[in-house]
């Protein structure tokens, strides 16, 4: 066997906190071979980013390598001199971070930034470096590199910026590319393109990749081998094939279970969540770290810490009973046992009615002529890329942003544009759960006063009844009553979202707007929050407006789904119909881009490589025509008509539905990566 390119040998990294020291990474050994792609996955706080920084010997001031060695090309990074280290960092190891915006210098043209790498690390003369930079931009699939090279970073979309960062990383022809969540900050459609790029580049370059991500599906697409981290330890390692087909650690298996498979609905099964939380790194017991949450733990697990054991020829697991690891999917309870809420299809009065709602800021149309109805007790899912106006629509309905034109009606009664001018009852009926767990609760208030105020204002209770109701709300979201006296900083992200949900339910709302409530959370926590939302809906019969960029989650939870693009609804229909052809071409590309688990790579029939034009330069005609691979003449000049595909499924497109359906079905069957030729239907 050849010598590994990168070898971590029994690495322990500690952080000095105010009073004590915690080991963020403990006794990790792994090796990356030349040309190999190794994926490191785990939930937040598991130590994967700390490990990535250690590979560059780039630990923060209070971080310390307390044991072990980091060997790169058989040389110890932590005993090198500063100048040796500098040479290695630039020339042999390159890094791509999560946020491309802060990795680029905003005052230098991007072509110049790439050329600088060639001049600096490869000592190319000025002109040759510029040529090489253009070549490198072409290599990362930037069309028109000459034009793009002359732009400043702010003129590029997030996806293009990340391509430039990748070009800079590749410019020094590194032996190892460290990718730390390189697609997490990007939209799914852009993420799919970047992942494609990595796959293509792997064939062209001989760099090894250390890919760090919280997203199993993403890692699967790029990597050969993966390591799973939990609470600072490597708990499972093997080839992607082995680990994905038959995980040998209960934690890995539970992670798979908590991700909604593409196509699973709330009626089918509950998502399995992992009970309990990650152990406190400052206070670890003697046994297996996963033991308190493990479904197959025994006495031995409590007293003895397992080593990494062989579970296959190239498969390691830190579990005594790895052969008994539950197969993903087997442990998940079916929904029939728990009864998912019925979706009331036979409509009485709509609960919420939007009539031609628009919102403008200056010349920019954030929302344009939105018509929408939500029935009592229904879950309506809203999807779209960032900037599509999903959150603004939520705020208009909630009364945080008044509509510029159009009306919002609750139970057929028109309501005021701002919440403060609505009646108390109307305010009680529409509540909202926000996206950011860090900002959703006032950090200076205790949970008891956060909930108490909501109960008092929304439910009108005071004194003892207020206290009882607050405690009951906390119990409803499955938090212990001792948390009443805690401040938000003592709570985890998932717990804060639970409190936010309890707050929204304080006055028995009729409609709860959920604006990406789980996108900042780990998948195992997300699963438990989604289950909680289903339970609460069954008890309260509240309708949900669920906004998310994660199609699998929206599909899992929703009865009906709307797809938004540039402030307009382009498709709307029952959840099961929206994900079946015919789709709007935009929906098609969203579905194709969604990362998913399983053997098959996702199909890429529609690449949304062209950036979204943005609400200020709204195109005439169909808003999607600038990126639509099937756009033809009328799309560019006239707004497309709504076409009825039956069962309440509506698509807003100039292309005839049967033409859409035929080509999309063919694309699904062929699983080809090339766009299928499109025959455009006649104008109606």
């Amino acid at each position: 066997m050849t010598a590994p390119l990168l070898e971590l040998d029994n690495v322990t990294i500690s952080y000095q906190r105010r009073r004590d020291r915690i080991d963020a990474v403990r006794n990790v050994s792994l090796a990356v071979q030349p040309g190999e792609a190794y994926g490191l996955v785990g939930e937040s706080g598991c130590g994967k980013s700390t490990l990535a920084m250690a590979v560059l010997r780039y630990l923060p001031k209070n971080g310390l390598l307390t044991s072990g060695h980091v060997l790169f090309e058989e040389r110890d990074l932590f005993t090198m001199t500063a100048s040796e280290l500098r040479r290695i960092r630039g020339n042999r190891i390159a890094m791509v971070y999560q946020n491309p915006g802060s990795a680029l210098n905003p005052t230098i043209r991007v072509g110049e930034q790439v050329a600088e790498v060639f001049r600096h690390h490869r000592a190319l003369p000025h002109h040759t470096a510029s040529q090489a930079a253009l070549e490198m931009l072409r290599k990362v699939r930037i069309s028109e590199p000459d034009r793009v090279a002359a732009l400043y970073p702010y003129q590029l979309s997030g996806g293009m910026q990340q391509r430039v960062v990748i070009a800079m990383a590749l410019a020094s022809d590194p032996a190892l590319l460290v990718l730390d969540e390189p697609t997490t900050a990007l939209d799914a459609t852009v993420q799919a393109d970047i992942l494609d790029l990595f796959q293509d580049l792997r064939g062209e370059l001989n760099a090894a990749i250390l890919f760090i991500s919280h997203n199993l599906a993403v890692v699967q697409q790029v990597c050969d081998r993966i390591g799973v981290m939990y609470a600072g330890e490597l708990i499972e390692q093997g080839t992607v094939r082995e680990v994905f087909q038959r995980p040998r650690h209960p934690y890995t298996a539970a992670l798979f279970d908590s991700i909604p498979d593409f196509g699973v609905r709330k009626q089918d099964r509950r998502l399995a969540s992992i009970a309990g939380g990650v152990p406190d790194l400052a206070d670890l017991g003697a046994g297996c770290l996963y033991e308190p949450r493990c479904p197959i733990s025994r006495t031995l697990c409590r007293v003895e810490h397992p080593d990494l054991l062989r579970a296959g020829t190239r498969h390691l697991s830190r579990c005594f009973f790895h052969t008994e690891t539950p197969v993903p999917g087997s442990a998940a309870p079916t929904a029939s046992a728990t009864q998912a809420p019925e979706s009331p299809q036979n409509q009485r009065l709509p609960l919420l009615t939007l009539n031609r709602v628009s919102r403008r800021y200056g010349r920019a149309h954030i929302l344009k002529d939105i018509d929408l109805e939500i029935a009592p007790g229904e879950t309506f899912g809203l999807v779209g890329e960032s900037g599509s106006g999903k959150s603004t629509l939520a705020k208009v309905i909630a009364g945080l942003v008044p509509p510029s034109t159009g009306t919002v009606a609750l139970n057929n009664v028109r309501v005021a544009g701002v919440a403060s001018r609505r009646t108390r009852r109307q305010r009680r009926d529409v509540q909202m759960v926000f996206q950011t767990p860090d900002a959703t609760l006032n950090p200076r208030k205790r949970i008891v006063s956060i909930l108490g105020r909501a109960v008092r204002v929304l439910a009108g209770l005071t004194g003892r009844r207020k206290r009882d109701r607050s405690a009951a709300l906390l119990a409803d979201v499955q938090l212990p009553s001792r948390m009443l006296t805690a401040t938000p900083d003592r709570l985890s992200g998932g717990q804060r979202q639970r409190v936010a949900i309890a707050r929204a339910f304080a006055g028995d709302p009729k409609l709860v707007i959920l604006d990406e409530p789980t996108s900042a959370l780990d998948v195992s926590v997300q699963a438990s929050i989604l289950s909680l939302l289903l339970d609460l809906q069954r008890e309260s019969e509240a309708a949900y407006l669920f906004i998310s960029h994660d199609l699998a989650v929206v599909r899992y939870l929703s009865d009906r789904i709307g797809v938004m693009y540039l402030g307009e609804l382009v498709e709307i229909g029952p959840a099961e119909r929206v994900f079946r052809p015919p789709f709007h071409p935009y929906t098609h590309s969203l579905i194709a881009a969604a990362p998913r688990l399983g053997g098959e790579k996702p199909l890429r029939p529609v690449s949304l490589d062209a950036p979204s034009p943005g609400p200020a330069e709204r195109p005439t005609g169909c808003p999607f025509h600038t990126r639509c691979p099937r756009a033809y003449d009328p799309c560019r000049t006239e707004a497309p008509p709504w076409r009825d595909a039956g069962e309440g499924h509506m698509i807003r497109c100039w292309i005839a539905l049967d033409a859409l359906e035929a080509s999309q079905t063919a694309a699904l069957r062929a699983r080809s990566t090339a766009p299928a030729p499109v025959r455009v239907g006649p104008r109606p």
Binding site: M1, P4, E7, D9, N10, T12, Q16, R18, R19, D20, R21, R26, N27, V28, S29, L30, A31, Q33, T66, S67, E233, L234, Q237, H305, P306, D307, L308, L309, R310, R314, L316, R318, K395, A398, G399, L400, A419, S420, R422, R424, R427, V430, Q431, M432, F434, Q435, T436, A439, T440, L441, N442, P443, R444, K445, R453, A454, V457, L458, A500, R503
Partner: protein, 285 residues
Amino acid sequence: MAETLINARRRPRSRTRFTPARGTIPLAIGVAMVLVWVATSLGAPWLAPYPPSEIDFLAISQPPSAAHWFGTDQLGRDMLSRVMHGGAYVLTIAPAATLLGLVLGTAIGLTTAWFGSWVDEIVMRVLDAVMAFPIVILAMLALTFLGAGTGNVILVIGLVFAPLIARTVRAAALVEARKEYVQAAQLRGEGALYIMAVELLPNVRGPLIVEGTVRLGYAVFTSATLGFLGLGVQPPTPDWGLMVSENQALLTTAPWTVLFPATGIAWVVVAIGLAADGLKEYLEP
């Protein structure tokens, strides 16, 4: 061998060492230095060797000696006693003025941040115009109209500090006002006063405290300056600024008459500055 089976040995937990939180040391030194003067001022009636305004024509402009540690001034008054008493004025005027500035500034800052649009535009432009003048000039103008005196000095310093504090509060409150917990309050239909007082104010506390401490240092300096210009308390009150002013003619012949009160001013300003730095480090690491 690429994959080594790992023997997860447990290292014995290393003994944890107590390291003080950032900024606590300068904060402690600064506070201690101020407390020295607070104690001295409070105890001056009993500790001072002479009454501060007792004139002794037999001991005019004496250099420091055993009888008069800090010497005497041109009226034969004991400088040590006067310096000990003089702290009291600065140490009441400065905190009172700062408090007034904080209350006014916070109210203005929160209001402009929350209401935004034209309220913000008008109020902030007016404050910009006020702040374009040097503080001492503004204070002098105001005191010339109002007349000198302790109460007016407090009022004037408080008023000229309010715009500066308002800016800090507004900047911090603008960040908080966009956060989701404020939107949750709006969804409940909370009034502007509730949102400003209960949701925003506690969350701008950190910058507010830091700004207040910095302002306190400036207030000491400003009140001393106004005293020096004769706009503060009137003779024969033993005020540090006033003492420097009264004795400036003696700077060459009896420098101790200026040195000791000036040192008192510098001491307190430096001490508060030190405390402010430490506090900033501690609150905003």
